[in-house]
Amino acid sequence: MSDSLKYFRQNRLPHIWCPGCGHGTITGAIIRAIAKLKLDKNRIVVVSGIGCSSRAPGYLDFDTLHTTHGRALAFATGIKLSRPDLKVIVMTGDGDATAIGGNHFIHAARRNIDITTIVMNNAIYGMTSGQYSPMTPVGMLGTTAPYGTVERPFDLAKMAIASGASYVARATSYHVQLLEEVIEKALLNKGFSVVEAVSQCPTYFGRKNKIGSAVDMLNMFKEHAVNVKAAAVMAPEKLEGKFLIGELHNQSAPEFTEEYQKLIEGVRRKFDNFQGGVRECAQNSD
């Protein structure tokens, strides 16, 4: 931690998150992964939207951008296209990425643009006092679901894979070593990388559903998470009610900014001999 403290705006700490909130653990894992890769902090841009998770860039000493609700990926796409040499990281929440920014999420994945997206999934809108989100499991309680939600949640990892993301992984704030490992791989991946970091919200999700303290919620992750390697040899009935963690998808695909650069160069070459004035020159050059 001491060598990664230089990546923090230490005068902004302690942070605003509740005692026991998993977002701090996930932020710590991201910073340790960046410190391990020895990335230059002046060449990293961290973008976030609105929500508890999106407070994170305020504590990080990179070039950071706190944008409108759900539009973090839209702003990040703009940054990456104008400056493809920079490393762009998006820190977003489950409501931010799947509800308000759902469309931005699937289209960023479809383009396979080189952005590392870390979705901190606490299954609830924590900042606005615990309304249920598109990631709240069926039957769970929230401020807007006093008798339990009947809506089926998204499987964010499957959605990202189906939309075309080239690296998809999931970990929890209990499995910190795995989380750090998958974030490191996501940062190295050239293309759209999604890490779904399952986080605990003891203040709203834990209290409303009577799960208990942050420690009880972490124990719940420990019981319900199954590593994808272990799940491959497990019987399907044993996987009932569990969720998979680990590296779920890793397949390289053409990256958007590179393809765009190729297109620009191709068009430029086509117009190389173009002196201006006569339009036929450009058309006949190839």
Partner: protein, 92 residues
């Protein structure tokens, strides 16, 4: 491992950042840590094995484990952290 060459670890705790969420205390495999007045402290530092699970799981970046190496000056202490200097000023 004999008692002489047992590795020793020191716990750097930033009390100002600790919120007393109990995560480090509950998941320490050797029950080294305890809460006192809502802040963590190392009650049994001699049984620490240096697995750093507390450091990894701490949501508030409040605890750090340093190995004590004999003959080497003590590591950076929490008291040495200067909060008055803005880290934003030192972009190198």
């Amino acid at each position: 491992m004999s008692e002489q060459n047992k590795r020793r670890f020191e716990h750097v705790i930033r009390e100002r950042w600790c919120k007393g969420c109990n995560i480090c205390v509950a998941f320490c495999p050797k029950q080294v840590l305890e809460l006192k007045n809502g802040k963590v402290f190392a009650a049994r530092p001699e049984s620490c094995i240096g697995c750093k699970l507390c450091e990894l799981r701490c949501p508030d970046f409040a605890i750090e484990i340093h190995e004590v190496i004999e003959g080497k000056a003590e590591g950076r202490d929490a008291a040495h952290l200067d909060f008055s200097v803005s880290p934003e000023a030192e972009h190198d």
